[in-house]
Amino acid sequence: MNTLPLFILIPVGAAFALSTFDVLKNDKKRILVANITAALACLSLTVLAIAHLGKTGVFEMGGRSIPIGIALVLDGFSAPVLAVTGLVSLICAVFSFSYMDMYSGREKFFSLFLLMVAGMNGIVLTSDIFNLYVFMELAAVSSFALVAYGTMKEELEAAFKYLVLSGVATTFILTGIALTYGHTRNLSMVFIYNALSSGSAGPGIYLAAGFLIVGFGIKAALIPFHAWLPDAHPAAPAPVSAMLSGVLIKTAGIYAMVRILFMLFAADLAVASMLLRTLGTVSLMVGVLLALGQWDFKRLLAYHSVSQMGYIALAFGVATPLGIVAGLFHLLNHSVFKSLLFLNSGALFYRTSTRDLRDMGGLNAVMPVTGYTSMVASLSIAGMPPFNGFWSKLLIIIAAIQGGYLWLALWAVLGSVLTLASFAKVQRYAFLGELKEGLKKIKEVPLPMTLSMVFLAVLCAVMGILLIPGIRAVVLDGAADVLLNPAAYIRIATGGIL
């Protein structure tokens, strides 16, 4: 049996089932059932995705073959992203068990949460560019509602800003898709590859690429399109911030951008890779400089998301096999440590009710689990060995030097040093030093929250093993093959026929 549609059917089915749960009048029972349903759905997605690592496959929706029908395609680039989406959503769901006690309407929260997961899985799997737009909107609409979930002034304002900018982004993306369609008369990636992989790109393709870069640039929050992210991500409830920063800006932003740009410029990657490198380097420097001055913990993390997305774009922009592996590896690592940091900030907010670093201090004494896991995550994001961030940043720098971009490698190193400085500030103000008077009575957060943070911290420590040759060949290397070699993608997406 073909298991690919399950990646979309499970979360959508669970989301609709959840929305009927408000017939349960007993609050406790309803929350318990909602928790269990969401966790089971995410767990099954994770298991399924990990079982699919290193495999390829294709599922033709409605039993019609392309270009009449739409195909879901699993390849070396989508499988690892699918796995990390499942994993992060599972952990965020477990974290929500306790954290979402602050809010009401648990089943509605999880319903939106799972719809967002379904949209992201769809973006990753689809091989049709218009279908990609539809899934992107599915993920986006549920994320708007999740950002506004608290319905206080700040949440609503952030959600409105996010909605407007995201709405502009999707109109740009749709225009880009329409131009691509007008040029190639097809929406299926296989046929677009066929039409474009020989000969140079015409002006129509350049115009389409321009619209698509602006659109996906807003979605991925690359500088200069980043204005919404530092508002939207901090305003959302912590597990949602972790999902948005951890996986949504990657699947809907950088993943889709890389996939489509490498497709449009399949014949000659020079222009596309130059653009990605430039956007990436600017984002990684400006993002980290903006982050340095922040005192709001979540806002600081949001600016670091911009900066780390810059690293990923830079790595993909190097456009060598090693560069793509490095970009994908950093994407996976960033999902893990950035969601851990957002969960840490959620844990702090849960106990101290503040996000301002100046109001904290010495929290290691009363919240050791949160303190030490955030230490692990800070060291990871700053690129300290032996944590995962070190290996992927090292790989990015090696790839940049091998590709002949010495200056970019230098910027990447400098950005990493500044990241370390900014997280030294976080550790110094929030966790180390004297415990403040008003904070003495607080306790460690409940078990589901500590459990999910510890799990992510362990992942941070061990994800370096993905670079061991045998594991790397299964998990990471397939991406370089499908992105740089159109024939490989076409072979996978048509199941060897054609």
Binding site: F130, V134, E137, V141, F144, A145, A148, T151, M152, K153, E154, L156, E157, A158, A159, F160, K161, L163, V164, G167, V168, T170, T171, L174, T175, A178, L179, Y181, G182, L187, A227, P230, D231, A235
Partner: protein
């Protein structure tokens, strides 16, 4: 007479008008309307890409040859895309209006420059 370039130009102008409104207007309702104009400009643009001068509606009659139909009808795929896009646009506008109403409840104004809890 072929008016296609004119029509493309108008769609682009409509897009630019919408973008101007989204970027420059301060009133939340006007921003929503501008976004709607942008979406509709894109929808128009997609229809134009699928259009051919003097084409017929893409509904196949009984007894019509497939090849003859394909040479006369406009592109049905573009129209299918537009329908999907309109439905998605509707859901986004509904959500935007809902949030704008909640914002009005909190701030008692639609002026986004007066909503200053978040900085830059």
């Amino acid at each position: 007479m072929n008016n296609m370039p004119l029509a493309y130009g108008l769609a682009m102008i409509l897009f630019a008008v919408g973008l101007y409104g989204v970027v420059c207007k301060k009133n939340a309702v006007k921003i929503i309307i501008s976004l709607l104009i942008m979406t509709n400009a894109v929808n128009l643009f997609i229809l134009l890409i699928g259009y051919r001068s003097g084409g017929i509606a893409p509904i196949m009659d009984k007894g019509q040859e497939a090849s003859e139909f394909a040479s006369m009808a406009v592109d049905p795929l573009a129209q299918a895309i537009v329908i999907t896009s309109i439905v998605i646009g509707l859901s986004i506008v509904a959500l935007m209006i809902a949030i704008a109403i909640r914002l009005y409840d909190r701030y008692k104004t639609f002026d986004t420059s007066k909503m200053k809890d978040l900085k830059g």
